[in-house]
C-alpha cells in the first residue's frame, strides 16, 4: 500500500495547492506506530502527514460535515467512507459538488490490539468505493462475507436469553455517545438525547436508560445504516452494537427487499421512508 | 475624601450542612410582572424567611416533578425571599403555573454578593435590562434601605417593549420618590398604543445619553451591570468609554448551574466558578479571565 499512500499525498498536495479543495481528510500517525487518527490537512505542505496502511481503523467520513462550510473538501474514501458520502447526500447533509472523493480500494484493516482483521472489515460487503472522483490503486475483489452470524446466534436464543444478552450489552454502556458521534447516519442537528426539555433521555446511568438510548438510536438509523461498523469500533466498552443494525437490515431485506444496506446510491427513498400499497400485512 | 476601592469578596462560601438538599418552602405571594415574568415570594413552612442572604446572591429553586433553576434573589423581606422568574424554558414554564400556597424546594444562598460595604459613599449607577433586573434590584433596595451611606443613585433600565418592563411599580412609583434617586427607563421598540411615551433606545446608547443629559460623573461613582449577553457586551464598552475605571464597574454573570457549590464543573470561567466565587465580579477581574 506504500505507493497508494504516496499517490494520496501527492494528490492531496496538488488539490490543496491548486485551491480546488480547502481540506483533505485522511489519517495521520499517532505517538505509537500502530495508532492512526483522523487527520484533516489544510495546507499543501502538511500533505506528507497523511498515511494509508492497514492500521487506518477509523471511518473518517463524519469529519466532512464539519468542514464543507469552508469550500470543497477532499476525502480519502474506502468502501465505507464512500457509502457514507452517499448517505450524506441522500440525507441532504452535503451536495455531491461539495466533496472531492479520492477513492481507495480497501483490502481490510487490521485491529492493532489483536493483529487480526478488524471486525468491521471482516463483515464488509463493499471494499471498493461506490463513488469517487478519482481512484487510487486497482479495485480489489469483494468476497461479500456472511455478516449475519451474530444475528443468527442471538435469534436462536430464547426470549429470556435475548433479553439477558441485551441487558448485558446495555449494562456495560457508559453512554459516551461515541457510537452516535462516529455514525454517518446520525446527522440530526439536535439529537433526541439532548432534547432536555422533552426529556426523552434520562441522565442516570443504568441499563434502562442505556437500552432506551441504544435501541432508539439503532432504530433511527436502522433503514439508513451503511453497515460500516464504525459505531462498534468506536465503542470504548466493546459492545456488539452491529448485531441490532444487521438484524434490521436483514428484516428490511426480507420484508421490503431486496435491500442490501444504505449508502449504495446517493438517492432515496430509504425503505422506511416509503411504502408500497401491497406491502406484506401483519396486523389485520 | 479618598474613595475606598471596590472590593468584591470571592471567598464567601459557607457550609450549611447538606448543600444539595433543598428545604421545603411555601409560595406566599405571586405578582404578574409582565406577560412572561412573575415574581414569587417564598417562606418556610413555619413562616420564616428561607435564608438570610446578601444582595446579589443566588438561590436554587426546585419544583418537583419539574427541574431546578438558579436565580438571583431579587429581594428579601422580614419573612420571605423574593424571586423574579421569566418564562424561558421547561422548568420556568412550570414555575409560572404555581399558585399561592404551593410548596416548592429552595436551597442556597450561593455565591458572593455585591460590594455594598466598599461602595459606601459613592454615587451609584445601576444598569439593568429585561430580566437582568433581580440582582440589580436587590442591591438597589439595599442602597435605598441604607440611603445615607450612598451618594446619588441612578438606575438605567431597558426592556424590549413597554410590556416587558419588570417591576413597573418600583420603577415608576416607588424608586423615583426616594431621595436623590433617578430612574431612567427606555424601551427598544415602541408599540402603537402601549402607552409608552418615554425613550426608545437600546441600553448602551441610552446609558450614554442619560450620562450626558444628567451631567453624571465617573468621579467617585460605581456602576452595577446585569443583563443578557449583548447588553452586557455593549454596556461594558459604553461604561469604559464614559471613563469608568474597570475597578469601578461591578457585574454579575450567568451560567448554567447545577450544584451551586463549585463542584459540578460547568459554570467555570477559567479557574473560577461563577456559582461559588461569583457571580459578582468587577470589570477589572473579568478582563483578567479567559473569554470563555
Amino acid at each position: 500500500m506504500a505507493d497508494v499512500q504516496d499517490i494520496i499525498r501527492e494528490r492531496a498536495a496538488a488539490l490543496l495547492s491548486s485551491g480546488e479543495v480547502s481540506a483533505v481528510i485522511g489519517w495521520g500517525v499517532g505517538r505509537f506506530d500502530d495508532v492512526r487518527f483522523p487527520l484533516v490537512v489544510k495546507r499543501a505542505e502538511d500533505a506528507g502527514k497523511l498515511v494509508f496502511d492497514a492500521s487506518c481503523v477509523q471511518m473518517t467520513a463524519k469529519r466532512l460535515l464539519e468542514h464543507t462550510g469552508d469550500g470543497k473538501v477532499a476525502l480519502v474514501a474506502r468502501g465505507c467512507e464512500s457509502r457514507a458520502v452517499n448517505r450524506f447526500i441522500a440525507d441532504h447533509q452535503l451536495t455531491r459538488d461539495q466533496v472531492y472523493v479520492i477513492g481507495v480500494p480497501c483490502p481490510g484493516m487490521v485491529d492493532p490490539a489483536t493483529g487480526e482483521t478488524l471486525k468491521r472489515c471482516a463483515e464488509c460487503q463493499v471494499r471498493n468505493p461506490v463513488v469517487h472522483d478519482e481512484l487510487v490503486g486497482d479495485p480489489v475483489p469483494e468476497p461479500k462475507p456472511y455478516r449475519f452470524a451474530e444475528v443468527d446466534r442471538v435469534e436462536a436464543m430464547s426470549r429470556e436469553e435475548r433479553r439477558a444478552f441485551f441487558d448485558e450489552m446495555y449494562g456495560k454502556c457508559i453512554r459516551c455517545y461515541a457510537c452516535r458521534n462516529a455514525c454517518p447516519c446520525c446527522t440530526c442537528r439536535e439529537c433526541f438525547v439532548e432534547q432536555d426539555k422533552v426529556g426523552w433521555q434520562g441522565k442516570a446511568f443504568n441499563v434502562n436508560e442505556a437500552r432506551y438510548y441504544g435501541m432508539i438510536r439503532a432504530f433511527h438509523t436502522g433503514d439508513r445504516c451503511i453497515e460500516c461498523g464504525e459505531c462498534e469500533r468506536a465503542c470504548p466498552m466493546g459492545l456488539p452494537l452491529m448485531v441490532i443494525m444487521h438484524q434490521q437490515v436483514r428484516d428490511i431485506d426480507k420484508l421490503f427487499g431486496p435491500y442490501e444496506g444504505g449508502g449504495l446510491t446517493d438517492s432515496g427513498p430509504d425503505p422506511l421512508r416509503t411504502y408500497k400499497t401491497d406491502d406484506i400485512e401483519e396486523f389485520m | 475624601m479618598p474613595k475606598t476601592p471596590i472590593e468584591v469578596s470571592h471567598g464567601c462560601a459557607r457550609n450549611n450542612g447538606e448543600p444539595y438538599v433543598p428545604q421545603v418552602c411555601r409560595v406566599i405571594d405571586i405578582q404578574e410582572q409582565t406577560h412572561d415574568v412573575k415574581s414569587f415570594r417564598l417562606q418556610t413552612l413555619d413562616g420564616k424567611r428561607p435564608f438570610a442572604c446578601e444582595p446579589g446572591q443566588l438561590g436554587m429553586f426546585s419544583d418537583p416533578p419539574y427541574g431546578e433553576c438558579m436565580f438571583a434573589v431579587a429581594g428579601v423581606g422580614e419573612d420571605y425571599c423574593e424571586f423574579i422568574v421569566k418564562n424561558v424554558g421547561f422548568t420556568t414554564n412550570h414555575l409560572h403555573e404555581l399558585s399561592v400556597g404551593d410548596e416548592v424546594g429552595l436551597r442556597g444562598p450561593y455565591g458572593n454578593w455585591f460590594p455594598y460595604e466598599s461602595a459606601k459613599g459613592r454615587d451609584m449607577l445601576f444598569i439593568g435590562g429585561g430580566i437582568g433586573m433581580p440582582p440589580v434590584r436587590a442591591f438597589l433596595r439595599h442602597c435605598l434601605a441604607h440611603r445615607e451611606d450612598y451618594g446619588r443613585i441612578d438606575f438605567v433600565y431597558s426592556a424590549s417593549t413597554y410590556d416587558d418592563l419588570v417591576c413597573k411599580d418600583d420603577l415608576f412609583n416607588v424608586w423615583p420618590n426616594e431621595p436623590d434617586t433617578h430612574v431612567h427607563v427606555s424601551v427598544y421598540h415602541a408599540k402603537e398604543g402601549d402607552g409608552w411615551d418615554g425613550a426608545v433606545s437600546y441600553t448602551a446608547p441610552y446609558l450614554e445619553q442619560v450620562f450626558a443629559e444628567e451631567g453624571l460623573s465617573t468621579e467617585n461613582a460605581c456602576a452595577v451591570l446585569c443583563g443578557g449577553p449583548s447588553l452586557f457586551r455593549t454596556c461594558r464598552e459604553s461604561l469604559l468609554k464614559l471613563g469608568f475605571a474597570p475597578e469601578d464597574i461591578v457585574t454579575t454573570l450567568e451560567a448554567r448551574m447545577k450544584c451551586g457549590v463549585g463542584k459540578c464543573g460547568r459554570c467555570n470561567v477559567g479557574g473560577v466558578f461563577i456559582c461559588l466565587e461569583g457571580p459578582v465580579f468587577t470589570e477589572a477581574e473579568l478582563a483578567r479571565m479567559p473569554r470563555d
Binding site: D196, F205 | V21, P64, R256, D292
Partner: protein, 340 residues
C-alpha cells in the same frame, strides 16, 4: 514486611470476611474495580483497569434526595447515608493520585460534599506500585511516581514474586496489623522501572493561559468526536449533572457523571450556549486539566494514567497535546514576532 503474591488470595478472603473489598478484575469483557467474592479473579497484573476506581467514591449515579408531592404539599427527604468501611486493594499510584484530586474538589473550597465524604472516610486504599509502567503511562512526569503513593493507607511495592508492605497512615497501620498472619518478615528490592513516555509539564500551565485563541484547539477539534469516552474513563474527571427520575407524584433527584464534551453541558434555558463549538469544548477540557485546576488546587487534573489515549475512538492523545503546548511560543513572543 512481605506479602507473597501467590498468597494474596488468603489475605483477600480474610479482608472480605470483615468488610467490602474491591479489587481490579475483568468484568464481562472490560475491567474495573469489582467487589471481591467467589469466582472473582483479581488482576493485579493489569496496569490500569478500563474503568477507573472513581465510582467507588463518586458513583456514576447517586441519589441526593427523594421527594413526594401531594397536591400543593411537598416532602423532601435527604438520601444521605453513612457508608460501611471498605477496602480498595491494588489500585495504582496514578489512581491514588486521582483520589487526591477528588478530595480537593469535594472536600475543600468552602463546601464539603457529605456524600463523597462519607465514602472517602469509609475507604482504606491499598496501592500497588507499577514495576513496569505501560507504554501510555506518563504519571512520573505529570503527577505521581509509579513507585510510590504517598496518600495511600498502605503501599504495596512490587518486588516480582512479592510485595513489600508499608503502612502509611494510622488506618493503614491497623489494617496491616490485622493482616499479620498472611505477611512474612523480610525485605525485598522493589522493581522500579521508569515510564518510557515523558511529558514536559513545567511551562504548560502558564503557557496555556496565553493560548485561548491558539490554533491547537481547532486542530484537536478536527480530530475529536466530542464523545464522552475520555471523561468517563478518566479517573479525575469529576463534573456531574443533577437530574431526576419521576414516577407520578414521587421521585428522586440524583447526580450523575456528565461530560464537558457534550453540547448540552453548558446550554442554558432559553437556548444560549457559551460553549457551542467543538473547539471551545475541547479547549475547556484541556484548559481545565492543565491550567484552571492548577490555579485553583495547585495540582494538575491529569495523573498520566493513559486511559483516555487508549480508549479514545479518534486516538486523541493528551501527551502529544502537552508536547505541543510545551513546544509552543508564548503568546507575547508570538505577537512580538508578528510585529517585527
Amino acid at each position: 514486611m512481605l506479602l507473597k503474591k501467590a498468597k494474596a488470595g488468603a489475605l483477600l478472603d480474610a479482608i472480605a470476611a470483615k468488610e467490602r473489598l474491591f479489587v481490579p478484575a475483568d468484568d464481562r469483557g472490560t475491567s474495573r474495580f469489582v467487589a471481591y467474592g467467589a469466582g472473582v479473579e483479581p488482576r493485579f497484573d493489569l496496569l490500569n483497569t478500563k474503568l477507573p476506581p472513581k465510582d467507588l467514591l463518586f458513583p456514576a449515579t447517586e441519589t441526593l434526595y427523594r421527594w413526594s408531592r401531594d397536591g400543593a404539599d411537598l416532602a423532601i427527604d435527604s438520601a444521605f447515608a453513612e457508608t460501611d468501611p471498605f477496602t480498595v486493594f491494588g489500585l495504582r499510584p496514578c489512581d491514588m493520585a486521582s483520589v487526591d484530586r477528588l478530595d480537593a474538589v469535594f472536600l475543600t473550597k468552602g463546601y464539603v460534599d457529605e456524600f463523597y465524604q462519607a465514602k472517602r472516610e469509609a475507604a482504606t486504599f491499598v496501592a500497588a506500585t507499577c514495576a513496569h509502567p505501560g507504554r501510555a503511562c506518563f504519571c512520573d512526569s505529570i503527577a505521581a511516581s509509579p513507585h510510590e503513593a504517598p496518600t495511600a493507607d498502605v503501599l504495596l511495592e512490587d518486588a516480582g514474586e512479592e510485595w513489600v508492605v508499608t503502612p502509611q497512615t494510622e488506618k493503614g497501620a491497623s489494617a496491616v496489623e490485622a493482616w499479620k498472619p498472611y505477611l512474612e518478615e523480610g525485605d525485598a528490592e522493589p522493581i522500579k522501572a521508569a515510564c518510557d513516555l515523558k511529558v514536559d509539564m513545567a511551562a504548560v500551565p502558564e503557557k496555556l493561559k496565553g493560548m485561548f485563541d491558539d490554533p491547537i484547539w481547532s486542530d484537536i477539534g478536527d480530530q475529536c468526536l466530542t464523545c464522552g469516552t475520555c471523561t468517563f474513563v478518566c479517573p479525575t474527571c469529576y463534573c456531574f449533572n443533577i437530574d431526576q427520575d419521576v414516577r407520578e407524584d414521587e421521585g428522586k433527584r440524583f447526580r450523575c457523571w456528565d461530560s464537558c464534551m457534550f453540547t448540552d453541558y453548558t446550554a442554558m434555558a432559553g437556548g444560549h450556549n457559551p460553549r457551542a463549538s467543538k473547539e471551545s469544548r475541547v479547549r475547556q477540557r484541556f484548559m481545565h486539566k492543565l491550567t484552571y485546576f492548577n490555579d485553583r488546587y495547585d495540582m494538575n487534573l491529569c495523573v498520566g494514567c493513559g486511559r483516555c489515549m487508549r480508549d479514545c475512538p479518534a486516538a486523541v492523545d493528551i501527551s502529544l497535546i502537552i508536547d505541543r503546548i510545551a513546544a509552543s511560543e508564548p503568546a507575547q513572543e508570538k505577537e512580538a514576532m508578528a510585529h517585527a
